[in-house]
């Protein structure tokens, strides 16, 4: 309990990942889905940092920088799509965009 190791970080990261995954799968609001994706990317960063510390290797931290870059780009484009969807449907519900449903 009082000795924090890499396993603790992995467990926390897994919990955050699963919470984000559940958010992506069950929420109907696109804004919340995008936030859940950010949670998932954050949990990945936590893993990278934990292993960087464990292996005393900076590569993990450098890759976390790239993950943050990707997260920023993803947020910008995702929110642009959200605005386009809102202009088209006057709603941010994902269920309103079903044209491609088979």
């Amino acid at each position: 309990m009082l000795e924090i190791g890499t396993t603790h970080y992995l467990a926390l990261s897994a919990v955050l990942f699963v919470i984000g995954l559940v958010g992506v799968l069950v929420r109907r609001n696109l804004i919340t889905v995008l936030m859940s994706i950010e949670l998932i990317l954050n949990s990945v960063n936590l893993n990278l940092i934990a292993f960087s510390y464990q292996r005393a290797d900076l590569t993990g931290q450098v890759f976390a920088v790239f993950t943050i870059t990707v997260a920023a780009g993803e947020a910008a484009v995702g929110l642009g799509i959200l605005l386009a969807l809102f202009r088209l449907r006057q709603t941010t519900e994902l269920d309103s965009a079903t044209e491609l449903r088979g």
Binding site: L21, V26, T32, L58, V62, G73, A76
Partner: protein, 177 residues
């Protein structure tokens, strides 16, 4: 007092880990996206604190700036731009909720199963490696910059190109027809 100084890092880990999990749960369950966004900010800050605890000081500050500053402002502006007056009438969760919850618990169990069996060599890693360039002792920011600009220069340039593409994409998507 002895207890605090001896186990301060562990206590901080549990504090911020608990905060991150609670905030993440609030992001997924709250009805108002504005409250979700504020919870997300709490989660980002807690994770940044956890970065500090793992000797990733530069990453922690970047996390606060980029996530807590940039991405969060983007979210808040978009939430204010879209009109959410019909918020109360809608269902919060899609129909597949129960199935997803069962699968999520199974996935978590799988993670736990593997992590419980994992053994990492060396209880205390040599963290001074994170704070040096060659033999010279430097700060974490300097060490990360050294690795980033020397070993990962090409990915760095590709990342800047990626940001340009994302920016153009966001402008095109956000433009009024």
């Amino acid at each position: 007092m002895d207890f605090l100084t001896q186990h301060g890092a562990a206590l901080l880990f549990w504090l911020f880990a608990g905060g991150a999990v609670v905030c993440a749960l609030m992001v997924v369950t709250l009805r108002n996206p504005m409250y979700s966004a504020i919870s997300l900010l709490g989660c980002f800050l807690a994770v940044a604190a956890l970065f500090f605890l793992r000797h990733a000081e530069f990453l922690g500050v970047v996390q606060m700036f980029v996530y807590g500053g940039g991405i969060m402002v983007l979210f808040l502006f978009v939430i204010m731009l879209v009109n959410l007056h019909r918020l109360r009438e809608v269902r919060l969760f899609a129909g597949q909720g129960p199935v997803v919850l069962v699968l999520a618990v199974l996935l978590l169990g799988l993670f736990g199963f593997f992590f419980a069996g994992a053994h990492f060599a060396g209880a205390q890693p040599d963290t001074t490696q994170l704070l040096r360039i060659g033999a010279e002792k430097v700060g974490n920011t300097q060490a990360v910059a050294w690795a980033l600009y020397r070993d990962y220069l090409l990915p760095f340039e590709v990342a800047s190109l990626f940001l340009l593409v994302a920016m153009i994409g966001a402008v095109v998507l956000g433009r009024r027809q």
